[in-house]
């Protein structure tokens, strides 16, 4: 199993551009999450999904959108990128909810200039 994979690894965007961060898991997990980690800080939940077709907002959803059309994929869309969105983005998945282990992808390092 590849686990959780994310693309791209690195990206530089200009202010106002848009992009989609890809996340795929091959563990047949129901739950998927998107976090952002600012330098030297903890993880903040952006959006999460409890299954295909179901998404919900986390702590910091503004400026982002998600969709979950399949169990495997959970893309994160940035519209109108801003410098405040410069961060490392981690996708994670778990079989169940908060009492299950979360498996993290390798992350996408995004810089907005």
């Amino acid at each position: 199993n590849a686990g959780v994979t994310q693309t791209p690894k690195f990206r530089i965007l200009k202010i106002g551009q848009s992009m989609t961060l890809q996340c795929t898991q091959d563990m047949n997990h129901n739950y998927m999450y998107w976090y952002r980690q600012d330098p030297g800080m903890g993880l903040k939940l952006i959006y999460y999904s409890v299954g295909a077709g179901i998404t919900d907002k986390g702590e910091v959803p503004n400026g982002y959108n998600v969709s979950r059309s399949t169990t495997e994929d959970f893309p994160l869309r940035l519209e109108l990128a801003a410098p405040s969105q410069t961060s490392v983005y981690f996708c994670a998945s778990s079989y169940g909810g908060v009492t299950d282990t979360q498996y993290f992808g390798p992350g996408t390092r995004l810089t907005v200039l």
């Binding site: 976090y35 800080m41 903890g42 909810g97 908060v98 282990t101 979360q102 992808g105």
Partner: protein, 112 residues
Amino acid sequence: GQQVMQIPQYQHVQEGEDFTTYCNSSTTLSNIQWYKQRPGGHPVFLIQLVKSGEVKKQKRLTFQFGEAKKNSSLHITATQTTDVGTYFCAGGTNNAGNMLTFGGGTRLMVKP
């Protein structure tokens, strides 16, 4: 909303010294998880505690969950250079749905 605080933010130790990080929640937790993130890496699950007063050990690592289920600690005995990284606690509550709230992490640096 729920807040999870970790102290200290940074800790430098000499190899062989002990290390402890503390995690405190503003609300009672249903469970707490600990993760380790190596420099440049991603968080990796270490352990979960669910019972009041629970203590679990993994080799040189000892994890505790407070009696009131509002605090937790991770203690490393005789640190090694392989222990370098950032340790995060993450708390779940019955009111927060399917979200874990992560603490800010404690970054451990070990001098050989």
